[in-house]
Symmetry: C2
Subunit: 223 residues, 2 copies
Amino acid sequence: MIFRMERVEQAEIEGRTPRKRRAILAAATEVFLSHGYLGASMDEVAAKAGVSKQTVYKQFENKERLFAEIVLGTSDQLLDGLQQAYVDTLEGAADAREALRALAHRLLQSLTADSVLQLRRLVIAEADRFPEVCGAWFNSGFEKSLDALGQALTRLSDRGLLKRLDDPTLAAYQFAGLVMYKPMNRAMFAGTRQRPKPGELEKLADQAAEVFLAAYGLERSAR
Amino acid sequence: MIFRMERVEQAEIEGRTPRKRRAILAAATEVFLSHGYLGASMDEVAAKAGVSKQTVYKQFENKERLFAEIVLGTSDQLLDGLQQAYVDTLEGAADAREALRALAHRLLQSLTADSVLQLRRLVIAEADRFPEVCGAWFNSGFEKSLDALGQALTRLSDRGLLKRLDDPTLAAYQFAGLVMYKPMNRAMFAGTRQRPKPGELEKLADQAAEVFLAAYGLERSAR
DNA sequence: ATGAAGAACTAGACCGTACAGTACTCATCA
DNA sequence: TGATGAGTACTGTACGGTCTAGTTCTTCAT
């Protein structure tokens, strides 16, 4: 009886085929992220998904399509996460300095997560092999999230917390560059090996906010 | 007679073995940069170097060592080139704004060269497979060049063209982030495909200088 | 200068392994 | 009962690295 209920419950959520498909995607994500495209083997994907190779090839035409599906599937998650960070830290903030510090800190936290770094490495590594896929990921994930940041900054400006922004997207890239350039490069090049020192991220966040405010803050809020 | 003279000339420059070795390194650089570590084949390296596989394995123990040799060999070139850019644009400059603009422009030019981008992709892609090599490249190439920029900025500050810098290296990273974050990310993720629009780099350079000066410029030089 | 001696090089066969993708048989689910 | 999946063997290919046999360069004593 219990067995039957469980079966029904699962079936209500999704059938066997989509369930397998999701398992394959999850496994393939793991394998591609940790070994790269060429280093990933379809045997390992199938094994890790608890599925036969035949099933993998029923769901995905070949290795390339599987790769594309995975990369493009991550754009949305990334975008949603960052959008949320903008809302949490900027909307409703009373003080620009505090808001920007909080945002910087939040960006550092989310973008230096291992899975994010691995995905970035994967996309960069395969940019030449799959220019369409990687270009699409960049446009609909990376660039879109910076545009969204530009809009969030504009709202801050509309609320009288920043100067008027002639080019919000540029300002967004500048802020991101101030915050992320150092830690992101280290994380990308030096692998998971070299961790930043405890206080470093805080200092980075604070100083980035300071420089940004010097250029875009209202005079009275200058330190 | 002519033939003989050519032979002598070449022998004067370098013997057969180092000549072959250099040919192998050049070919391997090309192959690794364009196909990645796993995508590169030793057969192709040998063929492109005009050398037999045996010779490759006489000079380099195996594929991994060849890779390491190539990656580490590029640190110095990169560093020298950037050091030169700092000297050319900052030393002897009379106006901070103009100097920073020129530097930004120069950085954009040199760091978006195809070979530089391909090398960065390669190092990032293999950061997990070869953490020591890639970490060493990062420390002795990337970080060192930023430290050098910090020192160059300090000299600018000593000459009374910038505020006193509490943390020159941080300031260097901030300047680099302001300048490079957008174009470098695009170049890395979107491949050689998406070229920046003509005026874009100039605007990026100018605006980066502007923001940097707002934070680190002397009051009288504020716009 | 000459001419062995020996090192370095070539060309390509070869070995073992790994992998993408397919085929086939038997079990399982709807 | 008919489709889907498991398990697994198989095919073709590619690659890292070694081996061999024959060729060319370098060196150094004469």
